[in-house]
Symmetry: D2
Subunit: 336 residues, 4 copies
């Protein structure tokens, strides 16, 4: 694993430490290389007897599966001279290989992604692209906000159950862990506690472009406003879709479409009540609810998940399970 | 003051205790009648030397101005046999007299409001209806969410600067004090901390109807979704208005319309940065910001205020100042 | 299980739902009798297909093991006419059978405990009384603060490694879940968030008497001050013991005594760093650290655990495992 | 003012902006020099029309009173070549001039303080050293924990009402703002929320030495354990003093001694109920309560204040008022 001390890295450590089929061989940390995992992260005392190592050392140590829990640009950089690329499975949690079109990545992230390597990656929205993931050797794990929006919308748009009349208004809120473990003024307790604030609205947030990259095939555009919540982890997305006609019974049709699309999926749950962030916190679950307002012709969807689990490390391990042909739930049930 | 121990009552106590022109003569509490204010609410130790009294006692004690900080229905009930109605000024913080049309009140709150009395009330959205408030003897203080939505939208719709193409999507979030001081499962610390949850979406929340009551004159309909935030006080409303044409320069036009509409208003501040809840917490300020997305033809407005101050007790005292002809800011500057 | 919807009941549901050897047959709720568990507590959707029942119904349904997750007095009352008392194992999480001397229970809780039944109970401080628990049919689960104080102190006092010179000063702080799920003014989010407050200091808190009941055999008295923390769960106890002589090397002696006393115990961990509440939250762990100040002859112990797990439901299931001869960690590893 | 963007600097800005006798002439910020105050800190929009400047510029601009809201060492450094030292009043909020004995400062802070300059400083614990402050031109403002401990203890020890039998056990807890505005891993929201942790116990925290510097004259030693609380601001100190004899009526004697010692002091309030942190948050108040346990011969004092106000900026302005001969409460009443 590359990048063990960030929040997604820690999430992977938490899951993999109890995963019955996995033994962690390598864990890097640029700043803490050389120190035992359990010394840097006391939570893992007794679970790992391993020293953190440098990126260079990780490149000398072949592994079966390589997790990249790093910032954007760093996955491209690490893989550029990784000697075991032809044999290793790669699950990348960064944004580097999430766009099928390298030009879009370049315009959003401001740097080039090697087109050849990019082509090998499959987009790891597990329940939607499971078939492709099963055969993939390279998986790019989706963004957290993105997962919360695509999971409920994708099957409805794909089946033409929803035909948006104008842009979809997505209002999302995320816990602070989404901003990463590196201390910043914006993540200082005194700046966050008691506050709630929008950031990077409309076309500013990079996840907007990732969502549109997968929904534009259905002609969908988004008005996207993320917010910072004074909680540690969890995402709620409110998705307001205006349609030509919104009879009340559309609620049941959508529930039923979700149930069909996600039949047998342990981690995706349409529910009748209004979902709350805390219901999914600490789990790999994504939960949705829907309400319809005939008067304003609006379908309103609520989607909740844990940004560090189903929105990052949990889905990454789910993808591992799918790639390896293991039961998809392995190591992911209950609280993590 | 009727209802001194709820959160809006406490807010009034906090402001009036330092207001240079006010002496509190009467404060009621159904449950704590007979006990000194400072014993029930230690915060006011040294500020008030007054015993809480019963509703009946309050009806025997004439006052110049009567604040009603009670639940809906209770203002109607208190005033029904209040002997000094012909001489006293009344500022009602309940919902009872907020609708010009008694039938709407009845359909939303499920009970009748006396039409004659209702007619005497002016709607206390201070900066919008200041002229009427100045001449009023009965003022009905607006709801908290309502204030956060009407203040930024009213002048834009009234001047036809915004002509909504379809329903306006309002996504609001409020601190827990908005749910009142009475302990409920929904306000238990363990149910709120670490969580974020929508409630009463679409046409379920009564404030939706209050907002539409004042915006329907401009043909506006709303998709309204309130949320509970794990903070004590503060409201943020995101207001997404789709229009026929949204050039980038609309941002500056809106800022300028706000500056004109609210020129000389100490408590309403259009700002260039994205507003945060914490900026207004503990003050009587309402702050707005605007962003425009030409691609989706969307005007996105952010509006923040403190639900207990500009959203309730602060605006009530502001209305008092206006009614009495005192400087509007008296007792309301700085932190409260 | 009697009392499924309180916080300790919910904790049991969470653990037992994934415990490989347990099938929940009965779960009571006075207020929610008749409703499915998963409807009342959406978290358990998919985990339990069971309706909550009344106390009376629970008395008609024999079970192998009976958990009582009720308030004090209610366990005595339930067992008084429980027809299967002679065959069923009982694990009581209330305070009713925690005192070997019924007179002490009476003086602390103000009611009588039947002496005959009380005599059958073993005190379920697992790591200290494991031998007795193994042979017991009736186990009384310790209080949360009590567990945090007894676990580190008991072996040190029992081995005479610490001989207190005067009263031991215990300053504890607990998350809000310790106050129970019933909404009260003291657990209202707005009363707790941003605050920190002492309550029931010195001899007022009942847990003081439970601690002294087990430590008085070593001549120890306590100055006990509990506090309410603005967090959901977790306890930290600071334990300051003044001794005749406190050389620096006493730190290592105490660490070593703990390691001996708790060798092979998965859930009790002496650590070198200063423990934090969050390290144990969501786990069944109790962690201790020690610092010695020769200048003031003080041994300062820090003890952390999750009040709902090792401090309640976790330890209860640990006792179940011990009573049944199952591996003690069954169902209790990792995050719960 | 030197150091306007740290939390104590912001506290000063908040108070001085409404102080009727003060006009802020200069405000420095090493990192933000050149930018308007209101741009860096939007809260002060409309209150200050001033640009932040560099330290060098501040040294070229004479002022009547100089506030130093800087880290330790930096006050010494700034004053070392400050050209107006002979005419300007100085109120230093750093630790640099808090110790009458320069050797103690050196041993605690690891650097030398110029003895001549140090001699000119008076210790700004307002209510205790008011007489000296009135005549002083140089005031050193006490530490936050220190104020919370000295205010209740000083008069009791000075009058020999308390004669500690052994070290006094002080267990304190502070909000995160006490750790400063600079982002650190320890102040990251995700590391603090849901947690509670001790740090620098026994003789490690520098405030221990500052407290002992003022209490050693009465023969008092301390066992001191500070904790980090998941709140923004506020301090609670529990002070357990073992005495030879602790009859219950000692409670009333102590209350009465406090009332005498602090007669006419607007900001120091002995109270009958157990104090809570939130009672003093946002005010310049210090509140105390006392409980006595005859059984363990313990006097237990609870002391609460806002670490940024009475514990820093509030007390600094109080000292300004005293030095200038203005009413001591000027600018400090109510919420700040």
């Amino acid at each position: 694993m590359v990048g063990a001390t960030g929040y997604t890295g820690q999430g992977l450590l938490r899951i993999l430490g109890r995963h019955p089929r996995v033994r962690l061989a390598v864990a890097t940390s640029v700043r803490e290389a050389g120190r035992p995992v359990a010394e840097v992260l006391p939570e893992f005392d007794g679970l790992y007897d391993l020293r953190l190592c440098s990126l260079d050392e990780a490149k000398r140590r072949p592994v079966d599966v390589l997790f990249l829990a790093v910032g954007h640009g760093e996955a491209i950089s690490f893989l550029s001279d990784y000697p075991y690329l032809s044999k290793t499975r790669v699950i990348d949690l960064s944004a580097d290989f999430r766009f099928r079109d390298p030009a879009v990545y370049q315009s959003v992230y401001g740097k080039a992604v090697p087109a050849g390597l990019n082509r090998k990656f499959v987009y790891g929205l597990t329940e939607v692209f499971r078939k492709q993931i099963r055969r993939a050797r390279f998986v790019s794990n989706p963004g957290c906000y993105v997962t919360s929006v695509l999971l409920p919308l994708y099957p409805l748009l794909a089946r033409r159950l929803l035909r948006p009349d104008g842009a979809i208004v997505v209002t999302s809120a995320s816990g602070v862990s989404g901003a990463g473990a590196t201390p910043k003024s914006e993540t200082h307790f005194c700046e966050v506690a008691g506050d709630y604030s929008p950031y990077k609205p409309l076309r500013e947030h990079r996840h907007l472009h990732e969502i549109e990259a997968y929904l534009s095939r259905f002609g969908a555009k988004l008005v996207f406003t993320p917010h910072l919540l004074p909680i540690k982890h969890g995402i709620l997305s409110d998705i307001a879709v205006r349609v030509k006609d919104a009879p009340k019974l559309l609620e049941e049709k959508i529930m039923s479409a979700w149930r069909n699309a996600y039949r047998g999926c342990a981690f995706v749950k349409p529910v009748a009540h209004l979902v709350r962030v805390a219901e999914t916190a600490g789990t790999n679950l994504a939960k949705f609810a829907v309400r319809v307002d005939p008067e304003t012709r609006t379908v309103l969807i609520f989607s909740a998940l844990d940004n560090l689990l189903k929105g990052a490390s949990g889905q990454a391990v789910q993808n591992l399970n799918v790639m390896m042909g293991w039961p998809e739930e392995t190591g992911l049930l209950g609280r993590i």
